[in-house]
Amino acid sequence: MIDKIVSSLDAAVAGIHDGATVMIGGFGTAGMPNHLIDALIAQGARDLTIVNNNAGNGETGLAALLKAKRVKKIICSFPRQADSQVFDALYQAGEIELELVPQGNLAARIQAAGAGLGAIFTPTGYGTLLAEGKETRRIGERNYVLEYPIRADFALIKAHRGDRWGNLVYRKAARNFGPIMATAAACTIAQVDELAELGDLDPEGVITPGIFVQRVVATATAAC
């Protein structure tokens, strides 16, 4: 019997190694896997490359991981926010590397990794600073920039319900990057609000098929 459900947050983040590339779901605070991030801070991995839309809000979650000096580089679209003070300070001190990617290219590059494409020509960013030095091509009537996949060793995502085969459903706008990051990581770890019995999730409504998920942990029941 295959059971991807792990019983603790510690077990969920086991094996994340120093230097790993880790995708973290969430857009702002919606869909941010805060329990997994806290477990990752406790676990101690460092020199991480983080892929997230933002660069942390306030002092918790991703911001706390940054504050603990575990992050070498962040790949994101929108680091600067009213409450991104932790990132801002590290960036201005030269203590964190930033790769700024337009949000749609971030999504498309993650999808390209998940789908096994070698590269994509995307129109977003053509002629801007963020395409400087990149290969471009005119195809038909438009200009495109060649962008490469973004893959990860691990993805930490938040879903609403999950079963022992790793099937996931999300809740409202917390879905955001979860389903695509799950496809692009060698090991996807999902924190879920609730566990579901196998077969309880409607097969027509499963958003992330279990093939993309390696570990599931319930936040309601799991002790760290």
Partner: protein, 214 residues
Amino acid sequence: MNRLNRNEMAARVARDIPEGAYVNLGIGLPTKVANYLPADRDIFLHSENGLLGMGPAPAPGQEDPELINAGKEPVTLLRGGCFFHHGDSFAMMRGGHLDICVLGAFQVSAMGDLANWHTGAPDAIPAVGGAMDLAIGAKQVFVMMELLTKTGQSKLVEHCTYPLTGIGCVNRLYTDVAVIDITRDGLLVRERVDGLSFADLQALVPVPLVDAGA
């Protein structure tokens, strides 16, 4: 001269959004446009974080931290709305499925270039979000901005001096004093506020305008 305030600008943009349009309203000023869309018409608001059929802000106490818009503010979903992931959301933009997006700007050039993401200051922390995808994705890109900076410089320029968001992507400019179409035939002034002559308007901007008012 009856310069429009920001609410009046939003109301003016709203008047040009037809029933049935799929629309993305950028964060900041463009978000106000939603307040002036007629509630009895089906206009489909898209939010980059995976919503279509986005509704107004919830009643106080009804906020759901997992139901937010691109500006991270609590919103609602209309009956008939739906959720999807970021890949699908940006495919809607980049694939040309949105009819209209409304964006703010630092500068717009006479060729329709848009600068709205970065001041270019060397110590600024850059952040782009979905601006570049929206700029090149929608069938029509509307920009809302005051025509002049606080120091009286035109934000409609020959060439943008701020870093670009997109090239030749702006179709129409809604300002506090005029509505201007950006076309292959030049900058067509469609409307001016009362008390502002075409010559007065032309004197404010460094690029040639065409009087195309009704």
